[in-house]
Amino acid sequence: MVTLDHAGSPRGMARSRSRGVQRLAVAVAALALLGLFLAYAEASLNGYRQQLVTLVAINAIIAVSLTLTSGFTGVFSLGQIGFLAIGAYTGALLTIAPQWKSEMFLPGLPEWLATLDLSAWPEQAALLVACVAGGGLAALVAALVGAPLMRLSGHYVAVATMGFLIIVQAVAINWEGVTRGARGLSQIPGLTGLWVAYAWVVVTVYAVWRLRASSFGRAMIASRENLIAARAIGVDVLRKRLLAFVVGAFFTGVAGSLLVHQIGTAAPSAFYFTTTFNVIIMVVLGGMGSISGAVVGATILTLAPEYLRDVEDGMDLGPLSFGAHYGLAQIILAVGFILVMIFRPQGLFGDREVGPALLGRFRPGRRRPAGLSPDATPTLAPGVDEIPADDRSRTG
């Protein structure tokens, strides 16, 4: 594949090599830091806090997936959490011990699944199977529903993907023989730990980052920025969107499996609008087109409510004493988001990434003049004024 550098010229080659080394160094340093942090968290944080840190990882995976599916392509999906549910139930049904499955009375399960017993397996191997199967099934469903949905743009795709979420919810509630309806599944073994959750974060970030940096990623951004121009120069918009949708669904499905193996239950209410909007806020807060922004957004949105809980309980600030005000945490958070949207409508990071931005400081020549970079977020409705992609029949 052709790189974007002057690959032919010796100077270009030297530069891209030194840039590669720089990148590798940054990646190794980041991994080492992450490892140190996890070792610290494992050794010193109490169980509840460790769970919180794990939840940050799971939310980060979902948010980064949504960055791929919606942020890069401009296809605003409200259906992401449907894939979380698919991954969650799939993973849970694989690992719940057979005696619990019969106890919960799930007559809809096929014989092999009802009797499947992964408890003899090494825990992490069982979890890996549950994650890959959950992600795989989510990706398969995404490929099926994506083929018609990805033809739509703007508001239409938002509404249509929301329809998908509603269908998944209805299935989860009513397919009692498999999902146990609104009561949900329980007795899911607690296999998800800190390390495996963050290992999946690393895999997700790496995969999405590679996609973004490839010609595929450029084509996705192009179709987001200007649908007509992208199609006129030969970008197969439908295929790019579909790939983003399917890969995003895979990692979201993995996150669903990780999630239920952390909390031990899978109930439909966990996979609906509240979660959907939480994840969207994470991504919008971080910046719709930024992987690191999604991770930061997920971190803030997972941890902030916990810290703000102390505020709700009331506290003393020097001579001032605040009584308990319940609901205050949500109000503070909401005001915070509103302020971010007013002062940084493109989110904290916009389209940019933390890594290259830090590197960029050492190479002033490559820096964009401040204030000139059009890191505007994709609008909700790119190209709705145009004839919807691949729907030429509407004019004929």
Binding site: R231, A232, I233, D351
Partner: protein, 234 residues
Amino acid sequence: MLILEDVHVAYGAIRAVKGVSLEVQDGELVALVGSNGAGKTTTLRTVSGLFRPRLGSIRYDGTDLTTLAPHEIVARGISQSPEGRQIFGSLTVRENLMLGAVRRKDRAALGDDLDRVFDLFPVLKERIGQSGGTLSGGEQQMLAIGRALMARPRLLLLDEPSLGLAPLLVQRIFDVVARLKAEGVTILLVEQNARKALEVADRAYVLETGRIVLHGPARELAANPEVERAYLGG
């Protein structure tokens, strides 16, 4: 050779193109002129496969284009520089240009083609790492044309390449169009600037409210008193 026969295109109930027939021979530079809303952009976008005609046929070298998706049409050697500087604002100049070559299989030759674009528009080379959205209007127009050239088209569709540019830049764009023609690129040129278009073109079609009302050698049309009154402001 591109042949449109009795092509009708409508946006819902709005009939924008009502039976256009035209052809572009290999190596020719054909101009399509007409006033605002005549249907020029619609015609070009239909050739690119962005819209599907209600009626009529579009054939290129014997292939029916009306059933193909836009990317398949680009793969057959037809690329378009769309109306109104439609570049990708957050991508760099280089990324914009590389995207023009998404359908190319011969990736090895891309370096040469990049050089060719920089040869035509040296200013793009200076702006190579800059994001497209920060370019001036004229630079964006050059970028859109350069991007279409990166597809190494056999047929180039140019939709108002001189739109909104200062006279000096208009001249520069037309020089480039003439040069491309000299290099053997077949061009279908849509222009408001009928005078300039008729100067460089071999033949021309005049479109009025969705219909071709006149066509012939560009020189003859330029001398036609009716054309002169309606489009050349004389």
